[in-house]
């Protein structure tokens, strides 16, 4: 599965399982957060990644987070 910010490109090239991230230079981080919050964000991304890996898909599928707007 793929953790990335450029979701439209990931879909276009056919990545089956995609978890969107917040910035190109830090796929599994967010420097705007404090250290604890950033760690929690990274944890959420990886948990979502495991959920994506356990989910059957037939085409490029984006796994959005519940906490995302």
């Amino acid at each position: 599965m793929l953790l990335c910010n450029l979701v439209s490109i990931a879909k276009r090239v056919g990545a089956p399982r995609i978890v969107p991230t917040r910035g190109i230079p830090y796929p599994t981080g967010d420097p705007d957060l404090g250290p604890d919050q950033e760690h929690a964000w990274r944890r959420e991304l990886l948990e979502r990644a495991l959920h994506a890996l356990s989910t059957p898909v037939t085409e490029p599928t984006v796994f959005e987070g519940e906490r995302e707007g």
Partner: protein, 341 residues
């Protein structure tokens, strides 16, 4: 049309690796694959000369190409073709040099090799038609090559439909209708349900068959991968910061987190300031270790793979993907998390 056909020393029948130093030579006859090629071309086009050179000599003496082309011109040659070189790197490079020298001499030219051959990247504006990966595909490769030769000899542009593996050069021409008329025509086509109509085709990508889901993450080994140019501090294997030609692997044994004094990103496509403050922002090792120790995953693969996905060719990227997949499969890794920048 009178054609000169370039092959390497092996396909010229001179010998294998021990003859790779063979100097450039011209023979007024078809040799090796040129014999079948001539049969496929029929009577309209004649291979009047086979030009060849040892792969090592060709690699070390770029001027061999202009030399051979000049000798071919003395034979009244009107078209220069080279290959098929399959995935042989030096042979592909030699073909690239020969067709480039031909174009510089004002002759039409055409090469045949596999799309992953590094020679493809050395050729600008001259058509390259696909061959298979190895000489086992000679028959099919020559069939396609012959069709392409006929087309190029007829002055036609070779397109991806003909098996062209390198981009078709954009050329200015006067269109039949004004931009406004063409835009409206395209809009009407779109409204009529034609989703494909365009004047600027975008590159097509493979369809990826999604892997089956894992039954239970707690039972499997997961690998971390990244195209973030993510290397040990000092970049010991000199991974490129753009247009990567390779990927590298490093051990994660003994690392509970991606510490700033141990890892860095050398990616040239963005500011690495945040990645290098906390490398877990590229390779989420700290959280992966947590999930491992909690049993949320069965285990973390003890090494990670990385390349730099900045300006990387699709052909190289495809190769990396195939190699990563095979390697992980061999190591019984059942899932991979790839971070992309």
């Amino acid at each position: 049309m009178r054609i000169a056909h370039y092959v390497n020393q092996f396909f010229a029948g001179v010998g294998g690796e021990e003859e790779a130093g063979t100097r450039p030579e011209l023979r007024r006859e078809t040799v090796g694959p040129g014999k079948r090629l001539q049969a496929l071309l029929g009577e309209e086009h004649e291979i009047v000369a086979t030009i060849f050179c040892g792969d090592d000599h060709a690699a070390g003496h770029p001027e061999f190409a202009a030399d051979l082309v000049a000798r071919a011109q003395d034979e009244g040659v009107e078209l220069v073709i080279a290959g098929p070189a399959f995935t042989s790197g030096r042979y592909g490079l030699a073909c690239a040099r020969v067709v480039t020298a031909a174009a510089e001499a004002g002759l039409p030219a055409l090469a045949a090799m596999h799309g992953d051959n590094p020679g493809v990247g050395e050729i600008e504006g001259i058509p390259v038609v696909a061959s298979g990966e190895t000489a086992r595909t000679m028959r099919d490769s020559l069939d396609r090559f012959a069709e392409a030769v006929k087309k190029v000899a007829g002055g036609e542009e070779l397109t991806p439909e003909d098996g062209r593996v390198n981009p078709v050069p954009r050329r200015n021409r006067v269109a039949d209708h004004s931009a406004a008329q063409r835009a409206v025509a395209l809009l009407l086509a779109r409204l009529g349900g034609d989703e494909e109509a365009t004047e600027i085709p975008l590159p097509r990508f493979d369809q990826v068959e999604p892997a089956a889901p894992v039954d239970d993450p707690e039972q499997i080994v997961v690998a971390l991968l990244t195209e973030g140019g993510f290397v040990p501090v000092g970049n010991p294997d000199r991974l490129e910061s753009s247009r990567a030609s390779k990927w590298v692997r490093y051990s994660l044994e003994g690392h509970d987190s991606a510490a700033a004094e141990e890892f860095e990103s050398v990616h040239g496509g963005f500011s690495t300031q945040w990645a290098n403050e906390d490398p877990n922002r590229i390779l989420p090792l700290d959280v992966a270790r947590e999930l491992e120790s909690e049993g949320a995953i069965g285990g973390l693969h003890n090494e990670y793979f990385t390349t730099t996905g900045n300006g990387t060719t699709v052909a190289d990227a495809r190769r990396f993907g195939v190699e990563w997949g095979a390697d992980l499969h061999q190591a019984s890794v059942q899932a991979a998390i790839l971070t992309a920048t």
